[in-house]
Structures are given as structure tokens and as C-alpha cells.
Amino acid sequence: MNPNDRPLSPHLSIYRWPVTMVSSILHRATGVAMSVGFVLFVFWLADTASGPEAYAVFADAMGSVFGRILLIGWSWAFFYHLSNGIRHLVWDAGHGFEKGQANASAWIVLAASVVLTVIFWVLLS
């Protein structure tokens, strides 16, 4: 038998992602997204300090459809990383490691991040 014909397992393309895996990947992805968001936050401060003209450029960019989509994405990233960060702190304290608990907390964090994002944008508008 050709070694290349041997079955591969588990293969990434047919692997059913556990929710804990999704939550772990999202924690890193939202963290990196917010590192970019930190630069945006600094632009907000710097453009405000620079004066009305610089601020208008910033406000126009953020008020555009693309800007709003980015802001909604960043706000969700914030609430996800915040909720999941608290989940990590609970783990650091030594709790919640059972399989059922870890799966449940992953779903709770996902739900909380969406609910908090909706509440944030409802309060904002």
C-alpha cells in the first residue's frame, strides 16, 4: 500500500468543531482585532485633540456604512473578549473545567456577547 493512500484522522475538513474550540479561536481572533481597534481608539483621542477638522474626517469615516460595520464588529469583539476573559479568570481560579461546564460556559459567553452588543447599540442610538 502506498503510504500516501493511508487514511488520515482526524482530518480538518471533516472534523466537527467542539464549541470550546470555537470559543478558544474566537478569543484570540477578537484579541487581535482589538489590537487593531486600539489604534482606532488612539486616532479618536488624537483627532479630537487636533481640532474640529481632523475630528470631522474621523467622524465621517466612522459614520460611513463601512465604518459602522467595523464599529459593530469591534464592539462585539470587545464584549466577546470581555465575557470569555472572565471565563478564563474563573478557570484560573480552578473552577469550571468539567466537559459539560466548559461547553455550557462557551455557549453562555457567545450568547452574552451578542446580547451585550445589541444592548450597547440600542443605548447608543
Binding site: S35, L45, A46
Partner: protein
């Protein structure tokens, strides 16, 4: 049987020599950011409009200015630690990894400095 010396075990520093400093710094700044971050999003959500004047008034208030400075520094620190781990995980060539780590550290310090200067300028009133 452990290959580590009794002194090495009691110091608990491992091979990297800085022990749990990175881990602890990430948790501590994370806890601070739970509080500072929630304060910031609640402040933004309840801000009276998003005109230039509203932003100047918000950032310029002494209480807000101090919390924004703490937020900027803590965010830069937490982000630096996180990006460092991501670079160490995914950038495998030695030269590129070191260059990325240096660039990331410089960039985080640069943006933190810009943030502090802007807040001080609005807080003290230029």
C-alpha cells in the same frame, strides 16, 4: 526523579527565567480592563451626541481624563502581551520573529504615548 535542582524548584522560574510574570501581567491587566472597559463602553453609550464638542468635553473632564489614561496604558500593555504570544506562535523564522516582536513593542509604546499626549492636551486645555 526530577532533574531540577532544589534551588531551581524553590525559585520556580523554569528555563525562561522570568517565571509567571507574563501570565500574571496578562491576568492583572485583564482584570483592570474588565473595569476600565465597562466604564468606557457605558460612557460612550450614554454620551450626549458625537460632535467634536461633545468628545472634547468628555475627554477633558479630569475624572474621565485620568481613567482614559489608565485605559490607554493598560490596553497597550495587555495588547502587547497578547500580540507577543500570537507572534511567538505563528512566526517561525527567527529573524522575522524577533523583528516582529520589536516592531510590536515599539508600536504599542508609540500609540500609548500618542494617547497620553492627546488626553493631557484636552485635560489640561491647550
Amino acid at each position: 526523579m526530577s532533574l531540577r535542582s532544589p534551588l531551581g524548584r524553590v525559585l520556580g522560574l523554569g528555563t525562561a527565567k522570568d517565571g509567571t510574570a507574563h501570565w500574571w501581567g496578562q491576568r492583572l491587566s485583564g482584570i483592570a480592563l474588565v473595569l476600565l472597559g465597562l466604564w468606557f463602553v457605558v460612557s460612550v453609550a450614554t454620551m450626549p451626541g458625537f460632535s467634536h464638542g461633545a468628545a472634547v468635553a468628555f475627554i477633558g473632564k479630569p475624572f474621565n481624563a485620568v481613567l482614559l489614561m489608565l485605559l490607554s496604558v493598560t490596553m497597550a500593555y495587555h495588547s502587547w502581551l497578547g500580540v507577543q504570544v500570537v507572534i511567538e506562535d505563528y512566526v517561525h523564522s527567527n529573524g522575522l520573529r524577533v523583528a516582529s516582536l520589536i516592531f510590536s513593542r515599539f508600536a504599542h509604546i508609540f500609540f500609548a504615548a500618542v494617547a497620553l499626549f492627546a488626553i493631557l492636551r484636552l485635560g489640561i486645555g491647550a
